[in-house]
Symmetry: none
């Protein structure tokens, strides 16, 4: 059976641009869907589950980056940002927000296609923990799209930092998340020297999520290495 061609979501407000991109992508053997605004982009991204997203910044209904920031915690779909603005600030902001690549217009179609191949190559290997949108196990449920966490059906309030840490753990559910990866993901590159943050916030997460915080079942310690969230059961 033929494997379905990768589906690429094009988010751009200018119809001509969309059709040029779509034509080039079709010629290269991809399927495409298009969205003219942030709102449609978001709903299509969640609804159609594309394999890759091409995002033009500068959309009419809001900052294009917000698509990245809202989408990235929920799904791992590679996002390539296209922009007319080539300032470093914008690039760094987009990349740090979770974008996987950034092309400044004008760019050649060949380069775009090559970078799409790179992004798809990256996305191909993983998908180990399913990375389904949601996590559920041991009575705890995490919904990254709604940014909602519940335990035994009751909503749990988490502070921003707690939630970020939980997401980083959920994303690696079943595997060991090293101190370093957690620290850099939650507090940024420079935090690698402060493993103490982790202890404090792990304790808070356990207090909120575990039945018996001193005998954790969900959030396990791997001494000298990091922490491990139990396997996703959903």
């Amino acid at each position: 059976m033929a494997i379905a061609a990768p589906l690429i979501l094009i988010v751009d407000d200018e119809a001509p641009v969309r059709s040029v991109l779509a034509a080039a992508l079709h010629a290269a053997g991809y399927r495409t869907i298009e969205a003219p605004t942030l709102r449609f982009g978001l709903s299509h991204a969640l609804g159609h589950r594309p394999d890759l997203i091409l995002l033009d910044l500068g959309l009419p209904d809001g900052p294009g980056l917000s698509l990245v920031t809202t989408l990235r915690p929920a799904i791992r779909t590679p996002i390539i940002v296209l922009s007319a603005r080539g300032e470093d600030r914008a690039k760094v902001a987009a990349l740090d927000a979770g974008a996987d690549d950034y092309l400044t217009k004008p760019f050649s179609i060949e380069e775009l296609l090559a970078r799409i191949r790179v992004a798809l190559r990256h996305a191909d290997a993983p998908i180990c923990g399913e990375n389904g949108l949601a996590f559920a196990a041991g009575g705890v449920h995490v919904d990254p799209v709604r940014r909602a966490v519940s335990r035994d059906g009751e909503a749990i309030h988490l502070t921003p930092t707690e939630y970020k840490l939980l997401l980083a753990l959920v994303r690696q559910a079943g595997r060991v998340a090293t101190h370093r990866s957690l620290l850099t993901e939650v507090w940024g590159q420079s935090a690698a020297a402060h493993p103490h943050y982790l202890r404090v916030y792990m304790a808070q997460l356990r207090n909120k999520l575990e039945d018996d915080p001193s005998n954790p079942v969900l959030l396990l310690t791997e001494p000298g290495v990091g922490y491990r969230m139990i396997e996703n059961a959903s």
Copy 2:
């Protein structure tokens, strides 16, 4: 606790460029090693196992791309290509050869750092396809991706040192691992003088993994030479 900062290999023939890059990377909290030629780049990449490689094309002793093509099948380390040439051809060729990103000089350090963060982020992500290292035999199962070890289906907790030693043995499963190779792999170069460490930790591994620790079946002693883990059955 000091968590090792990511190690970045800089391959560039011009010493001033290398030192500028190294300075910027140090300032950002990374460790670096440098290589002026392809040959050294290759040997450092394989010897030091950096977390990321910055590769300048146009090296004196051959086409820079050959580093990508020879390295990529062997290791998954992200490679960012730096080049003065901005032609699409070169970009496409590099990216398709296995490079993960391509920056055209001149570029800003901020952008480089942001793209390094992207690449390291990718590298942190789980990889499932590459289970080649997984080991299973005699009821014992080792899963390096999850950093999990089980015996007869039950999870076994290993300390960092025990796990490191087990991995070193698994990597040589079926063959003899000499005392010296195990010692240097687990405790570093300077440990060759303390063969006693090995005995202690081999005993602990046997206690945790063998049915009858005093009559080992999995972890065999090769008197005078080293130890041997039985052949992988998976």
